[in-house]
């Protein structure tokens, strides 16, 4: 019964004050919102941020345009709440990114040496993303870790589309600058 209702209908009913319908949206988007809050810097306060975002989103539902996707709209509120939080903390939390260290699939797939190598490369990439300046990290988190389009990222971060593009590009360049020196036989440009 709960499953049958889609986002648009849930929003529609929630605008009319139907808290059950809104509960469906809360259940459906909690994990996504929490993940976004965490990756955007809310850290251990992510639950509080998401709770606040859901309450605010409900109160602002009347501003929600019919047919607009709910996800990015909610994530924009989550992002703002995260900003409020980091402002009140007076400092930005370093982004704590972790990868699972050991993962064994019962069947032996790639050789252990390959796995180790791949794991090391991923670790380097994670470390490089963590070390980026705040805005550049934000844009990479949105574009790649949350898998949002450029337009959605613009909406979520409240930036012009052009800034999303240029900052993505700048962030990727900086990543490369951090990674390339470690690669062998790489022809460095400029």
């Amino acid at each position: 019964m709960r499953r049958a209702i889609d986002d648009a209908e849930a929003v529609d009913r929630a605008v009319g004050g139907d808290l059950d319908a809104y509960g469906v949206l809360v259940a459906r988007y909690t994990l996504r919102a929490h993940r976004a809050a965490f990756l955007l810097g809310a850290g251990e306060d992510s639950d509080d941020v998401v709770q606040e975002a859901f309450v605010k989103a409900f109160r602002h539902l009347s501003r929600f345009r019919v047919g607009e996707p709910f996800g990015p709209w909610l994530l924009r509120i989550v992002t703002n709440e995260t900003k409020n939080l980091t402002r009140s903390r007076r400092r930005r939390a370093a982004l704590a990114l972790r990868l699972p260290s050991a993962e064994s699939s019962g069947t032996a797939a790639a050789g252990p040496a390959d796995e180790l190598l791949a794991a090391e490369q991923r670790a380097q990439l994670v470390a490089a993303v963590s070390a980026l300046p705040h805005t550049e990290r934000q844009v990479l988190v949105c574009r790649y870790f949350l898998d949002l389009s450029e337009a959605e990222t613009a909406q979520v971060l409240e930036w012009p589309l052009g800034s999303v593009k240029s900052r993505t590009s700048r962030a990727l360049n900086r990543l490369r600058g951090q990674l390339v020196p470690r690669e062998q036989n790489q022809v460095l440009d400029g």
Partner: protein, 257 residues
């Protein structure tokens, strides 16, 4: 700068893949507290009792996927508590094991799964999409319960030589996570059941059902009794719980078909 875009194109899929792997601490189930705040007074921010959910959903792949220990790669702001909560996660057969103190159970917990319906074994077999295995060692169950619209089938044996024995069966190889267990990893031992992998969990621990939306059903939280064996076949995952020794549990599991 000539190959900049090429490099960018190459790194983009890597970043996406990385995003799917990064560990995010568990999210709380907020449905109740958000509703409370919306129903009530202009409500202040209130902290939810820490009922934790598995936040990061892994690809629904059948395997003995074991994430034991987590590399801390970047600077950390997490408190020691926060760190304890997220430092150990292990996923196996649709069950997520967390080495964590576990949530505080809400007093209103009914300790039952959502939408429990008791029925005959035959009827249950029509209601679920996976084969229900019955251990020959225990015979026909005294009671069969199907929950959450056919997502879990439970066989209840009220009177066995070992006391009450419960077997939950579910499509753990398809659904990402159906149960969360808060355990001490020192109590978990890998075992072999019918040639496939299983896990033996010694002693009681907190068990919680996770809904299709990936949110733990707080009302389902309960302490397990005795010991637990979890294992899977290609079609179904099973959770056997009761005051049994490991050898007995394994022989019961071996007889399930």
């Amino acid at each position: 700068m000539a190959d900049r875009t090429e490099w960018q194109r190459a790194v983009e899929p890597q970043l996406r893949a990385l995003g799917r792997e990064i560990e995010v601490p568990p999210a709380s189930d907020l449905t109740a507290v958000v509703r409370q705040r919306l129903e009530g007074h202009a409500g202040r921010r209130r902290r939810v009792p820490a009922l934790r959910a598995g936040a990061l959903r892994r690809r629904p792949v059948w395997r003995a996927a074991l994430v034991v220990g987590v590399a801390v790669l970047a600077v950390l702001v997490a408190t020691p508590q926060g760190r304890a909560v997220i430092s150990h996660v292990l996923r196996f057969a649709g069950i997520e094991l967390r080495q964590a103190p576990g949530p505080v159970r809400s007093p209103g917990s009914s300790a039952s799964l959502p939408g429990e319906r008791q029925m005959s074994l035959e009827e249950a077999r029509r209601q679920v999409s996976f084969p229900i295995l019955v251990p020959a060692a225990l015979g026909r169950p005294g009671e069969v319960v199907v929950s959450d619209g056919g997502r879990v089938a439970s066989l209840v044996y009220s009177r066995t030589p070992y006391g009450k024995v419960l077997i939950d069966e579910f499509a753990g190889h398809l659904d990402p996570i159906l149960f969360q267990k808060f355990v001490h990893f020192g109590d978990v031992t890998p075992v072999e059941v019918n040639g496939t992998k299983g896990l033996w969990i010694k002693g009681p621990h907190l068990l919680m059902y996770v809904t299709r939306d990936g949110v733990p059903a707080t009302a389902s939280a309960r302490l397990t009794k005795g010991n637990t064996l979890i294992w899977g076949t290609r079609q179904v995952a099973l959770r056997l719980e009761g005051k049994l020794g490991q050898r007995t549990a394994l022989s019961i599991a071996d007889s399930a078909h």
